[in-house]
């Protein structure tokens, strides 16, 4: 899973039916110190995260299908599964 910071919502009217009623957020991957790494991507929110929140993002389709319980045909790969309170890295 990846540590990410929520950037903001992405709004789409025309979308695959699996995305209907789900919040899609742009997220920026972070390193263990909170600095941005790599390129931002999109993730479906399952934990009521908002802009500025540090979140845990799972990028694995099987896990997503287990959590969302929408059957076996869900084209969603990235899911926000937790809001991070604290990250401590021992030097």
């Amino acid at each position: 899973m990846k540590l990410c910071r929520v950037l903001g919502p992405v709004v789409a009217t025309a979308k695959h039916k699996s995305y209907a009623g789900r919040k899609l957020l742009a997220v920026q991957p972070l390193d263990e110190h909170g600095a941005s790494i790599g390129t931002s991507f999109l993730a479906v929110d399952d934990v009521q995260a908002g802009p500025g929140d540090v979140v845990l993002v799972m990028q694995e389709g099987n896990g997503v299908r287990q959590l969302l319980q929408m059957g076996s045909q869900v084209p969603i790969r990235s899911l926000i599964v937790g809001i991070v309170d604290r990250v401590t890295v021992s030097a």
Binding site: R5, P9, G52, P75
Partner: protein, 108 residues
């Protein structure tokens, strides 16, 4: 999933079983600020996207799951047409990472 811009179309007459009738588009992946992020890819379209449109797509096995029937050889699928992105002015995050505040926010 990633943002992208449709920059072209692909026509292939001879193709694998399961791909008949599918529309293939050339997509430039983008980040949240609409800057190019990596090389263009070809994605199958599920939402009637057109050239020039801002879209989002899903990669890997989940791309095939966007189609019905889903046992098809694709690894990128356009699954939404973007109306709006509100990804600027993100409030600073403070107190999560021990030691170093990020985003200009003060540590606790």
């Amino acid at each position: 999933m990633n943002l992208g811009r449709v920059i072209g179309t692909v026509v292939a007459t001879q193709k694998c079983e399961g791909l008949q009738g599918k529309k293939f588009l050339v997509v430039q992946p983008l980040d949240h600020a609409l800057r190019s992020a990596g090389e263009p890819i070809v994605a199958v379209d599920t939402v009637r996207a057109g050239p020039g449109e801002l879209i989002y797509f899903v990669n890997s096995r989940e791309a095939a799951l966007a189609l019905d029937p889903f046992f098809v050889p694709v690894d990128a699928a356009i699954v939404g047409i973007v109306d709006d992105i509100a990804a600027d002015a993100v409030p600073p995050t403070a107190g999560v990472f021990i030691g170093e505040p990020i985003g200009g926010g003060g540590a606790r």
